[in-house]
Structures are given as C-alpha cells and as structure tokens.
Amino acid sequence: MPSTAAGTKPTLLWVAALLLWAALPFVATRHMVDLLVFAGLYSIAGLGVAFLLGQCGIVNLAQSVFYGIGAYSVAWFCARKGLPVPVGIASGIVLSVAMAAVVGWPILRLSGYFLALATLALGIIAQVLFLEWDWITGGTLGIGGIPFIEILGFTFDTPARFYFLVWPVALLLLVLHHNLLHSRAGLALRAMRDEPDAAAVLGIDIHKLKVQMFMLSAMLGSLAGSLFAHYVTFVSVDSFAIDRAISFLLLAVLGGVYTVWGPVLGALFITILPQWLSRLGDIHAFVFAAALIAAVILLPEGFGGAVTNWWQRRRTRRA
C-alpha cells in the first residue's frame, strides 16, 4: 500500500508502543511494576507543576500540599468514615481547589522569586500542620486501612492491576492538557508567559488565569495523592514533606516543561534512577540535585524538549 505507507508507519509505532506498555506488568518484576505505578502517580502530580512552570512561568513548590490533601481526604472519608471511594477523591479535589483559590488569589499577585518562595513557605506550613494536626492526619503514626479501588467488581489491589488504572488516567490527563494548550485559554497562557504587557492590552486577565491554573495544578496534585492513598492503603506525614514537592518540581524540570509528555519522562527518571543507585547508599538525592542544576544550565527544555528538538531537526532535514 505505497500511498498510505507514510500514514501506516506512525500508527504501527503507536500500536507497538501500546502493546509494549500493556505487556510490561507481565514481564517485569513486581518491584519494577511498583516503581512504574509510582512513576504514573508522579506523572500526574508533576504534570501540574510542569504546566504551571512551562505555560505560566510559576515555580510551584507547594504541590506536596495538595498531594497530601488528596491522600488524607481519602484516608478520612474512606478509611475513617467508611464512605465510598469517589467521595474521598472528590472531597480531596474540592478541598485542594478551594484552598488553591483562597491562597492563590493573594500570592499569585507576586511574581518571580517572591512567588516561588511563597509556594515553598506554603509547603513548609503544610508539612508542619500535617504533623501537628494529628487528629486528622494521624501524625507520624499515620492512617491505615484505606480500601482498594474497586470498579465493577474488579479490585485494583496489586501493582500490576493498579498499573492499568493509573496510566490510563495519566494518559487521559495528558490529552486534556494538550486540549488546553491548543485552545483559546492555552494561547492566552503562552501569551502572558511571553509578554505580559501585550497580553494585558489584548484583554487577557493574567491574574485570573494564573489562579485558574494554580487550581488546576492543585486538582492534579490532589488526584495523584488520592490514587496514592488507595494504592499504598496507609499514609503518614513522611510522604508529604517538602522533599516530595521538590521531587515534583525536579521531575517537571528534568522531563521538560514545554512538552506535554515531559512529566512522564521526568517521573520515570526519578522513580527508576534511585533503584540503579541504591547500591551506593543515599546518593540519589545528590544525583537529583546535580541533574536539576545540569538541566537548568544545559538543557532548559528538559529531556522532553531535547527529544522534540532532535525530532524537529530530523524532519526538516528529511523534507
């Protein structure tokens, strides 16, 4: 079929990738699949941080706050109160989005350094509150007994099963993100990122957009946190400290904040690398920091950006 050869090749590639993705849990070790599940969860949370940085120029170090709210909402409403799964997830989202709106409105008037450090301060406040308010969060003892997610009788109680829940969700969110970028709002975001003054002249409400994006980012963080809780069935404060927020920022920058699937690359990197380095002890924290520095100086568009640029150059050379 020579006339459709150009059309079938990419489709074949997509199908092959899909098959590869679907086969992984059956060929990889349970531990590896567990890591891949975490990569999926972090992709979701990291997507929130990535588009906020890439499209709005906002460094968000508060994602751990919403990750925690999502997880603790599930722990509270499902484990403690015995309510169905959707209630936990939905309440996490509602709480996170509301908080993002209330806190975001004043602090998003700040810009640059001030805003980034304000989000860092928020992350620290939440870290302390999660610890101190142990009547809600169980403090360091945590809350256990979180039920597994069950859809139509199928329980997502193993890494392999959860893998088939988290990754479709992540993929769906990437598609929605793509929709956002190529819409009226997406244009406005990129406009305000490039030239805020000119954007204002065209009637773009920069502040309102920033708050909306912050709320969206919080929603993603919360969703990731809720899924996390339903996966590990036990949550405690250690998972929601500032280094979690730093991981999310790290994976966003490494993966590339200007490509839609960048967060996936970054998430894979930060979940799988510590595995390889585990022989060397606690060195992965340093490697991550060094990778962040290297990315900022040498690869500002992240792995995703590097791949996209390479792909563009190949296409223009062939054409």
Partner: protein
C-alpha cells in the same frame, strides 16, 4: 478633511494631565482631544514626555493630576485590561510579539477579548470552545492577507525580522477591533521603504474607519495625520494640521531654536 470639532464627538479627551518624576515635571497640564474616526498625531522631540503621556493614556501609569476620558467615560484609574475591553489598544515602541507563538497564533490572540469560552470548556473541547478557535483562525487568516503576512504565518514570531514583527503587532491590534488604536513610535527601527509601507497601512486602516492616535518624533510618518498636536517640555504648544504646525511660531522655536 474638514472636521468641525463641536459636532464630531471626541473619542479620547486628555484633560489637565500633569506628572512629576522625582524632581522633574515631565507633563504639565496637557490637554488635547482625538476625534472619532480621525488619524491624530502626537509629535514632539525626545524627552518631551511623549512616552509618559502614552503610558498614562494606555493605562500603564497613573497620572498625578488630570483625567483621561474615553468615550466620555473617565478611565483615568482603569486597568489596562479594562481599557482594552473598552476598545483602547496600544502597540509598543519595541514590538511585543509573543515570541514562542507562531505569527498565526499571535494574530489569533488579538481576537481573545471578543470570545467567551471558559477554561473548563477549553479543556474538554466544548462546542463553544471549538467555535472560538475557528473564529480566531478566521480572523487571523483575514489579518494575514490584509497585512501580507501569509509567507510567515507558521513561523515563530520571535524568529521573524524586526520590521515584520512590527507589522505582526499592528495586524494583531487590528484583529482585536479596537475603537482607538494607539501607536507608540511605530516607525522606530524601520528603513524608509518600511516606513512608506507603514504610512500606507495606517492610511488604509483609517480610511476603513479606525481611529488612530500616532505618537512619534518622526515628522515624515506623522504627516498622514488629519490633526497633529505638538508636545514640548510637558505641554501642548501647538495643534492643527501638519502644514499649520510646521509654520507655527512656537514649534519653530522649540525645534529649530528660531
């Protein structure tokens, strides 16, 4: 064109604007009007206060004294966004195109304020969202043809030569259907061929009904204007047609020291 000021409503009225920077009185009681449908020029030597006045009119600076009236409404304290929704659109001395967007996308953003689809709808690709995108595409296409930008529509705006960037900015402003278009030194950085193109483009826009206020120190560009105000050392020293202003005594003193 003979306009009788009393019957043609002033679209823009500047009244008693004064502003001081540090110890320097940059603007001192500036009064002038821009008639609806006119092509008005504001000229003056560098340092006369043109940029300050421009920023005050467009909403980037709050004046210490005086008022800005747009369509008889006091907009002195209105935000840049509010003014844009009222139809007051400006360009910048160094063209501010959205470098990361293609020329087409730049033009599309011009139509932003006329559309209503919300962020949620955009994410879910609602019908209204798709309509909005179609409308933006259509306007961008129109603008591309009108301003001869077809060749660069899909190039990132940051990679387009400077003279063309200015055209992109102008086209984008046209897309937004302004009531009043404010141009800030539109000829700076252009060669004489490009200035001639600019004159042509602006004259055509005005003939088609757009009110334009042109701020420049370049006499050759401003002579397309119906009416010209001369700003010197913080106040308007002369108003009238270009010919009248050129022979005005005060103007000659200021410019030529005669």
């Amino acid at each position: 064109m003979d306009k009788t000021p009393q019957t043609t409503p002033a679209l823009l009225r500047i009244s008693g604007i004064s502003h001081k920077f540090g110890g320097l009185q940059v603007l001192d009681g500036v009064d002038f009007e821009v008639a609806d449908g006119s092509l008005t020029g504001l000229i003056g030597p560098n340092g006369a206060g043109k940029s300050t006045l421009f920023n005050i009119v467009s909403g980037f600076l709050l004046p210490q004294h005086g008022r800005v009236l747009f369509d008889e409404r006091d907009v002195t304290r209105d935000s840049v966004r509010a003014r844009s929704h009222a139809g007051l659109v400006r360009t910048f001395q160094t063209p501010k195109v959205f470098a990361g967007l293609t020329v087409r996308e730049n033009l599309m953003t011009g139509y932003y304020r006329h559309l209503r689809s919300g962020t949620a709808g955009n994410i879910l690709r609602s019908p209204r969202s798709r309509q909005d995108m179609a409308a933006m595409h259509a306007r961008a296409l129109e603008a591309g043809e009108r301003f001869s930008l077809q060749g660069v529509m899909d190039r990132p705006a940051g990679q387009v030569p400077a003279g063309m960037q200015r055209l992109v900015e102008l086209a984008r402003a046209w897309v937004s259907e302004p009531r009043l278009l404010l141009l800030d030194e539109p000829s700076s950085g252009l060669n004489s061929a490009e200035i001639a193109q600019m004159r042509e483009a602006l004259t055509q826009l005005n003939d088609a009904g757009m009110t334009i206020l042109l701020v420049s120190h370049d006499m050759d560009l401003v002579d397309i204007a119906d009416e010209v105000h001369v700003l010197c050392f913080g106040s308007i020293i002369a108003s009238g047609t270009m010919a009248q202003v050129k022979i005005d005594h005060a103007v000659r003193q200021a410019y030529l020291g005669v």
